[in-house]
């Protein structure tokens, strides 16, 4: 009650954001969190309190349990979760479903897939509604779903990158945690010297998101648009720096070239053949499935920087909640989407039952994150590190054909690793094919 009267009294959108922040952090009662989102923004889409039945395609584990909280509180606004498998094919299924008019009202989409959906008219512009919760998110997180002043989804979770390392083996082998990438390179050589059957890490041709995150950290910006034209700069200085760095390491043999997430990689992570893993905040959960016998042996440090004292990271993955263009109940869907990603009980549920690291700033300091993940009971400050990384993580604009770029990444880097070639050639291939594909689709691409 206090909330809505405050909202009615104020009009500037800046103050709206402050009020929304006050509302959702002010109390845990469903109503206050709810009504914070039913401000003017939602009404532009329809009646947010009208009955509706919404379909939600999501893959986050056990998200039905979080959605159940909403369903209990909103008996006439039921959300039905349809669990999907995460991956490229899901985007295709969404596009196909949209073409046939079957797109679900709500969808969980990865950040890099969002522009593809937007440019195919599948994800709706939600700027007006999103404004009401703008203050819940850091600039860094907000930039993940907004381009040129339009927002297309509510960020759900973020995945800032961090360095996982085998604390026990580092101690055993007398290694020091690297602060810069130069130190990391030296460390890689040192590891090979001390233990010829181990590697500091592996460079995977299967995980373009990993490389994108590292490039983001270096300052890359692969796509940009001025509203009229797109520019593609995959081969910018930052990315070339990252590529030639890793190319040097792989080609000289101090870093392995095997893909991740294979039985071989799983075993290598379990038995200490691989000593570090530049990964993201969800890495602990993955390790639990991949190398459960190494519980308690891993620790986390900030990702090494390119310059001394630099404390910047990148993102690897993360997803948001989008609303489809064809949805007839956009207001209600947006009400749910904002609730899911900003209300305390939903965010808490996401953390505890779905294991996601929330994008909402308040969520990142939730008490649910007081204890470290199960795999790393020794590192009590795990989530503090994570929130620091999240605060300063760089992102870049994703373009409308990320899927093409990612596909070329796999093939080009596979070839480079296999043939011992300079990795910048792979980056060049990505650049060329991305530009060609954009032009072929009919986009206007600036030639630089």
């Amino acid at each position: 009650m206090r909330c809505t009267s405050m909202l009615k009294a104020l009009s500037a959108s800046m103050v709206l954001a402050m009020a929304a922040a006050a509302c959702s952090s002010g109390g845990g009662t469903p109503d206050s969190g709810d009504e914070g989102g039913t401000g003017g923004g939602l009404r532009s889409y329809g009646d947010p309190n009208a009955p509706a039945e919404l379909e939600f395609w999501a893959w986050a584990t056990n998200i039905e349990q979080v959605v159940d909280i909403w369903n209990r509180q909103h008996p006439d606004q039921q959300v039905e979760v349809n669990s999907q498998a995460q991956g490229d094919e899901l985007v295709t299924r969404l596009l196909t479903a949209a073409k046939a008019g079957n797109a679900p009202c709500l969808m969980q989409t990865e950040y890099q897939a969002l522009p593809v959906l937007v440019s195919n008219g599948v994800a709706a512009d939600v700027t007006a509604a999103a404004e009401t919760v703008r203050g819940e998110f850091s600039d860094s997180a907000w930039g993940l779903t907004s381009f040129s002043d339009q927002t297309f989804a509510i960020p759900q979770d973020v995945a800032p990158m961090m360095l996982y390392y085998r604390e026990d083996l580092f101690e055993q082998m007398g290694l020091e945690v690297p602060q810069t990438w130069d130190e990391y390179a030296d460390l890689a050589a040192e590891v090979r010297r001390k233990a010829p059957d181990r590697f500091l890490t592996t460079f995977s041709s299967n995980d373009p998101g990993w490389f994108a995150g590292l490039s983001q950290q270096a300052g890359a910006n692969w796509w940009s648009t001025d509203g009229e034209q797109w520019s593609v700069d995959i081969d910018d200085e930052a990315t070339e720096q990252v590529a030639s760095y890793w190319g040097r390491l792989v080609n000289s043999g101090v870093v392995d070239g095997q893909p991740m997430y294979t039985p071989q990689w799983n075993r290598a992570m379990s038995d200490g053949t691989l000593l570090t893993w530049p990964s993201a905040v969800w890495g602990a959960a993955v390790l639990e499935g991949v190398a459960p016998t190494t519980k308690g042996k891993w620790a986390v440090a900030p990702l090494p920087g390119w310059t001394e004292g630099e404390d910047v990271s990148g993102y690897w993955g993360g997803s948001a909640t989008a609303v489809s263009e064809d949805c007839e109940d956009k207001a209600q869907a947006l009400k749910f989407a904002t609730w899911l990603n900003t209300s305390p009980e939903a965010v808490r549920g996401l953390i505890t039952t779905s294991g996601v690291y929330p994008a909402a700033t308040d969520g990142q300091t939730s008490t649910a994150l007081d204890s470290p993940p199960a795999m790393m009971p020794n590192q009590t400050g795990f989530y503090d590190l994570a929130s620091e990384a999240a605060r300063s993580a760089r992102t870049f604009t994703w373009g409308p054909n990320v899927n093409v770029t990612y596909s070329v990444y796999s093939d080009a880097f596979q070839q480079a690793i296999q043939g011992g070639a300079d990795f910048t050639s792979a980056v060049a291939a990505m650049q060329d094919r991305t530009v060609a594909d954009l032009e072929e689709q009919g986009f206007s691409v600036s030639q630089e």
Partner: protein, 300 residues
């Protein structure tokens, strides 16, 4: 090619297998070749069995083919069956529906078509034959999205029909039925039946179908497995995991996203459980291959 009632193969084999001449004892070389082939085929299957006995902390850390006896098997099975309140049972039920109903109907359709192509001479027969062959030439990968869009126009997407109906047409099944019909049904019996004035449908039921039975059993078995293990069609058609068959359900288990540990052991256990009904089916059906339908006895 006539099949008289000169005797069953069992009779012949018995009569001519004794006395055992030298060099005609248990043929060692063929048996050895068979055993080598069996071992070659079994090793990867053995992995499935062995891997399902391992717990998550053993799957990637112990020797690949060494089973674990620490109770991992029962843990995996119980965890799998408990996953999301028994979703696995739902997937099993769905798979039985798709494969059971789909195969029965598909075999009926294939048998009718194969019989027609084998035993009738009609205008356009070879063209029909070639047309059905051409149907195999466009792979499911290309057909999946057009099939989805077409079924969506009649609002069937996401229902059981969307997976059942496209499985009913099987060009390979039709070909097999044609081959078996040609080989097993004697033309002169059909001709005799027609001279006696029997109608075509009656002829099919009484004269055509029985000899085809062992062949139809094969078609049934192969089609059942094909539908049971089909992935792409249900993957593209279904979005509600209450309708998923085992293949898509287990795939979703493997690809739950990065926030949770991947449940490899559950997926392997689920795959093992998925193979078991197929083995049972195979064992049940294979006695039909021993049936000599004309004499009513069993072949050796």
């Amino acid at each position: 090619m006539t099949t008289g009632s000169v005797g069953t193969r069992a009779d012949h084999d018995r009569r001519h297998s004794a006395p055992v001449k030298s060099g005609q004892a248990i043929p060692l070389v063929p048996t050895a070749i068979l055993l080598v082939g069996a071992v070659y085929c079994l090793i990867p299957v053995l992995w499935v069995v062995v891997a399902s006995t391992k717990g998550p902390d053993e799957l990637f850390t112990t020797f690949t083919l060494a089973p674990s006896f620490t109770g991992g098997f029962w843990d995996n099975i119980t965890d799998l069956l408990a996953y999301r309140d028994g979703k696995f049972w739902r997937w099993v039920a769905n798979t039985v529906l798709y494969a059971g109903v789909g195969t029965v109907l598909s075999v009926v359709i294939s048998a009718l078509a194969g019989y027609s192509l084998a035993k009738f001479r009609f205008r356009g027969r070879e063209m029909v034959f070639r047309l059905i062959l051409a149907g195999v030439l466009i792979p499911q990968i290309t057909l999946a999205i057009p099939q989805y869009l077409l079924l969506s126009k009649v609002d069937l997407v996401g229902t059981y029909w969307s997976v059942l109906l496209p499985s009913l047409i099987s060009p390979f099944g039709i070909y097999l039925c044609r081959i078996f019909a040609t080989a097993a049904i004697p033309d002169d019996m059909l001709a005799a039946g027609r001279v006696d004035g029997a109608g075509e449908y009656r002829l099919f039921w009484h004269v055509g179908l029985p000899p085809m039975l062992p062949g139809l059993v094969t078609v049934f078995l192969l089609q059942f497995i094909a539908i049971w293990n089909n992935f792409l069609l249900p993957f593209i058609m279904l979005s509600d995991d209450d309708y998923y068959p085992l293949t898509v359900g287990l795939y979703a288990l493997l690809n739950q996203g990065t926030s949770q540990p991947v449940l490899y052991t559950l997926v392997v256990a689920g795959s093992l459980l998925s193979i078991v009904p197929l083995i049972v089916l195979f064992l049940l059906l294979q006695r039909y291959w021993r049936l000599d339908v004309l004499s009513g006895g069993l072949k050796a």
